[in-house]
């Protein structure tokens, strides 16, 4: 293994927590997310020589994951897989107080209800802090598309979270 390959692998490991969050955001389900993540990593390891130095590895990985997810969706064109039921998303500190739990569950429900291209943009910009230009490059669309998807996604999220009645009833866990 060359030094470059080692450095590549080490950086990939350090990105895992962020990649995993992106996978969850895309897939909406922990088990599917893990499959997306693992397959994207296998793809990346096979094709690491095509990764250009100086590019952002996170952005490259997000792109691979997005492509893999789209392929997967196409081949399983059946029922929508969007469901946050059962996804255990405890915070980094594992704390979710009783008061905020319902609100966060409602947030996940609102997010899951968005079209997946809007979820991807929202994740990259709001959660990952990518610039519009970086998000556009990652997803492979013009910046204008990023802006309009982002605007629609945020308007929908804000509306759902602001008007309690619009929030879908939350099923009890277990």
């Amino acid at each position: 293994m060359t030094k470059d390959n080692l450095a590549f692998r080490q950086e990939l490991v350090s990105l895992l927590p962020r990649l995993r969050r992106f996978a969850i955001a895309l897939a909406g389900r922990a088990d599917v997310a893990e499959d997306v993540l693992q397959s994207a990593i296998e793809r990346a390891l096979r094709n690491w020589t095509s990764f250009e130095r100086g590019r952002r590895l996170d952005s490259w990985m997000f792109k691979i994951m997005q492509n893999y997810w789209l392929d997967m969706r196409r081949s399983a064109a059946a029922a929508p897989m969007v469901s946050d039921e059962g996804v255990d998303i405890a915070g980094e500190d594992g704390r979710e107080t009783a008061e905020t739990r319902d609100q966060l569950r409602a947030t996940r429900a609102a997010f899951s209800a968005l079209p997946e291209e809007q979820r991807a943009v929202l994740t990259l910009v709001v959660l990952e802090g990518l610039s519009y230009a970086q998000a556009a490059e990652t997803i492979g669309v013009p910046i204008g598309t990023i802006m309009s998807r982002l605007a629609r996604a945020r308007a929908a999220m804000a509306a759902r979270l602001h008007h309690g009645a619009v929030i879908a009833p939350i099923k009890k866990q277990n």
């Binding site: 969050r21 390891l45 915070g91 945020r154 804000a158």
Partner: protein, 225 residues
């Protein structure tokens, strides 16, 4: 008019100074617009709370898969010459290794201390002749606890053994060894997520693959502290 795209660009810091000032001016004079921006800002905050960054797990199987080149099919490329090695009678050392699969022990190293010497001296990615087959160190690792380990592979004909040895006092202790098959093309079957080697690496906890310079320094001082 403050449209949704402008609100977003404002919140994301994508506006130039002039437009930024213009939006701020609007917000100061239009309570309705300010409330819209606040709603979006709140929704963003909730989203960040709802999808927190995952903590790095001490033994993430994916991390083990990434640092263990067994997961990388391309890794087979440099060992093609080994396929020219005639499939003679299986070397007894291979038999010994496979025999100890269930219970690896120091007797594994009793095949002349040869493995120990190779583990001491051979840089990763370099192959050495070994009992009619070849010996290759795949990777050197250091756990966060400071333990030094090397993953290696012995091939003979169309059989192979993958193993992980860790430095223990002044010698190498074999942690795990597993038999594997080599395909005709020379690409060996990548170990799955449940391979004993990956599991053993995962048990090291957080471990870092050593780079060439770090490895060279350790070889120079015979892996002693």
């Amino acid at each position: 008019m403050l449209n949704d795209e402008l609100i977003c660009a404002y919140l994301d810091g994508e506006l130039d100074a002039e437009k930024q000032a213009m939006v701020e001016h609007w917000l100061a004079s239009d309570a309705g617009a300010a409330a819209r921006v606040e709603r979006v800002r709140n929704a963003d905050g909730l989203l960040r709370q709802a999808y927190p960054q995952f903590a790095r797990e001490a033994s993430d199987p994916l991390a083990a898969m990434i640092i263990s080149p067994a997961a990388n099919a391309n890794h087979a490329a440099p060992r093609q010459w080994s396929m020219r090695v005639a499939a003679m009678a299986a070397a007894c050392v291979l038999g010994v290794l496979i025999g100890h699969y269930a219970e690896p022990s120091n007797t594994l190293l009793s095949s002349g201390g040869e493995i120990s010497r190779l583990l001491d001296d051979l840089p990763s990615g370099r192959a050495a002749a070994f009992h009619g087959g070849q010996f290759e160190v795949v990777l050197s690792l250091q756990s966060d606890a400071g333990e030094l380990c090397r993953q290696y592979r012995i091939e003979h004909g169309n059989e192979a053994v993958d193993a992980l040895a860790c430095r223990s006092s002044d010698d190498w202790r074999v942690v795990v060894a597993a038999a594997d098959s080599v395909t005709v093309e020379g690409a060996y079957i990548p170990a799955g997520a449940d391979s004993p080697i990956d599991a053993a690496i995962a048990r090291l906890g957080a471990a870092t693959a050593l780079d060439e310079d770090q490895e060279r320094a350790l070889i120079a001082r015979s892996w002693r502290d």
